[in-house]
Symmetry: D2
Amino acid sequence: MKPVCLVIGAGAGIGGNVGRRFAQEGYHAVLCRRSDEAGLDRLVEQIEEGGGSATGFLLNAIEPDTLEERIAAVESEIGPIEVVVFNLGAQIGDRSLRDTSYKAFEMGWRMATFALFRVASAVCPSMEERGKGTILVTSATSAYRGNAGQHSHAAAMGGRRMLCQSLNAEFASKGIHVAHILIDGAVDAPDTLGKMLGPERFEALRESRGGEHDGLLLPAKVADTYFHIAQQHRSAWTHEIDLRAFSDTAWWNH
Amino acid sequence: MKPVCLVIGAGAGIGGNVGRRFAQEGYHAVLCRRSDEAGLDRLVEQIEEGGGSATGFLLNAIEPDTLEERIAAVESEIGPIEVVVFNLGAQIGDRSLRDTSYKAFEMGWRMATFALFRVASAVCPSMEERGKGTILVTSATSAYRGNAGQHSHAAAMGGRRMLCQSLNAEFASKGIHVAHILIDGAVDAPDTLGKMLGPERFEALRESRGGEHDGLLLPAKVADTYFHIAQQHRSAWTHEIDLRAFSDTAWWNH
Amino acid sequence: MKPVCLVIGAGAGIGGNVGRRFAQEGYHAVLCRRSDEAGLDRLVEQIEEGGGSATGFLLNAIEPDTLEERIAAVESEIGPIEVVVFNLGAQIGDRSLRDTSYKAFEMGWRMATFALFRVASAVCPSMEERGKGTILVTSATSAYRGNAGQHSHAAAMGGRRMLCQSLNAEFASKGIHVAHILIDGAVDAPDTLGKMLGPERFEALRESRGGEHDGLLLPAKVADTYFHIAQQHRSAWTHEIDLRAFSDTAWWNH
Amino acid sequence: MKPVCLVIGAGAGIGGNVGRRFAQEGYHAVLCRRSDEAGLDRLVEQIEEGGGSATGFLLNAIEPDTLEERIAAVESEIGPIEVVVFNLGAQIGDRSLRDTSYKAFEMGWRMATFALFRVASAVCPSMEERGKGTILVTSATSAYRGNAGQHSHAAAMGGRRMLCQSLNAEFASKGIHVAHILIDGAVDAPDTLGKMLGPERFEALRESRGGEHDGLLLPAKVADTYFHIAQQHRSAWTHEIDLRAFSDTAWWNH
């Protein structure tokens, strides 16, 4: 039986590419996303055409019990979850304090912080029992510093990072590898960034970054590092790592 | 008319002492706490006996509208709020992931992160209009690193710190001074730490820290620095500062 | 006998203003700088005219034994050093790696890192014996993040910050208060920044920052916080603090 | 012609293992270490027996011109250096300030900070011309926080980290990948840690960490991640990463 890699937030960017990569390497990929059933089906098909195996589920992470029930069902119906890729974003663009509603602030937390807590609460007991497991958490610059207009996102991502550290502190010695992966730049993802910017601005951004269209983070390349981290021997685990394109500027610079 | 210093979380530790200090220096202290009306009345009396002025309110920060209504009422009935001391804690002691309920995790966020967002949303528009204001935020080591058993607290405090940075990024240039004050150690507060530990263990902790009973953070001394930060000239504002007792160990050491 | 405040790097900016402030508050200020004897004499006179007392010395901190001998002489001839303000800078402007000579790189370290080690080695034994003392260390953004062209400065200041933390770890419990003060922005200092930029660009910078000429760090206002930190009760000491003008951007933002 | 991987500090721990790993993957490993010619020869032989190729050099990094001349000679006689592994340590154990001589403090800087500056100054111009190159820098916990007794080491490593960030800021967009790799724990290296502790304490440490003798960082496993980072596509480069054994405690915890 193949080990299972569960991706929460498996769109056409990092999540989908990481799922595909694990599938190529012999995992069964369980791909969860909120919407776009057609896109999800296509992703599963592509994986299968490439000789891998995958299952897709639509799932609204904000709703109660969705994550918990999906995890329980995967464990009982598909197999033990060896790797979780937690890839839910909560970026809503820059908004002044006045324009950040209580609801938006709370949604940020529900997606970026609480959903991770729910996922960890659901998978850690089984992983602990099995003495092994990996939780790869996609994170954002806002986990390291708040910025104007990032009230909701920064509060949510700051919480996510500290939660990762406290999960690591409790579970590393029990064999569960938690990694916080800082995606410190724009991702070449037509689904999310492309939609947010519109096709023209997205193309302009791509061009502006130089290189041969690799001045944005290419999700398939990001996936290489996710896979590497999941394969690290337990005597040399990474807890925090950053990733950005060569032509981009690190968050601490300007 | 005296300038107003509003303290959210005015117990017998840092909150009450900071309120008293501002009152001694000519502010009208508005002291809010969740419970212990008798203790609150005593604090107001002590301030008045010392020649200062203060008003006390019981307030449950978790409930909707409480913070917002209190702030509106203070502004209209007492006077413009010049300084907010946000002093709500969310420490629930060390709990394993298994023993951290969804409710406890959410309560941490409601107290430590969301309540600050609500307070900022309520006071910043008036402060911005007046071109000045100060928000002093008490914070904890868990804002800097997660630790075993600190899942709820670390996620909430990490969110608090990043929120402070994004508030600062939006509002500093508009004259609002936001400061994140890391209390990196145990506070000599009979009300909170004393109750949590019980009298014997509390006394033993005090003794163990050396000095002349000043090996824990003395809240009246902490208040000196809160007051200083609120008085800093706007050409030299502090956004982040740490405080700990001389005989204690910084969080980054062991 | 007055307590002594020794300022290493007492120019017309932060160092001189901090020295003046301590002198106003009853300390004897010992002011050391590398050059400009006339400026040094004027500073001493101004302090004396204001009713304070001060002594000035020219001192080349790069030369062997200069710091050590000055400290020994002050202790034996003037009085016990209660406060050291270590204010040597090592900013040489942005230089590419190619344009950063070995000599420049080493000079940065000698001024910004090694000189602090020498000063600490010279004053800590006496302070430890007396069970008290304060070392206030001016630091720069480069202590927190390297930037293009800052090879020498960032390496030197990063070393300075870690040295401060290790001094604090050894000496806080022995009564020596070490504080690392991040000056995160341009200082309104005609002597240093003014000379580096020239009068026109300096004035233009001042104007661009808004406010009433307080969009740069005003050294006299910075001095208020230096003095406060030196007066903190040992139950509530600050080890790290940042300072910047209200209209400036924190280093972690852009 | 094989690409060259130059290892500065190629002992029996991380340096030697990383060199061996790159040799296995098709690089020519150039291995430099200060002493133990027999050990160096053995390492080269092992690599050759495994089908790889390597050259060994004794080199005293403290001496002037040694690093510069070796780099020039490798470039002209062996081939273009594609990867540099900078692996010089400067840990001298815990020493009080009183017991840290000026010479020890300076040696720390010469090994841990200045030698990296010299290496970067020597290799970056050629790498920049070729539009590619990788510099992998081994670092230590002391780069992130000073600790009692770590005056020399922390100052040197703090400088190293900030230097890495400023090299990255200048050279990433020119195709040079600089990575700062935090080895946050004890390495299972008989040569260095083993010698420092002596065989009995070393064995006791190993036992105490649990696992199947993998509670210390195994250098061959560490090498996997060094190799991965050097292979990252330039659209997804890591600048900072940490590594520690699963059963160890992260530096920010206690």
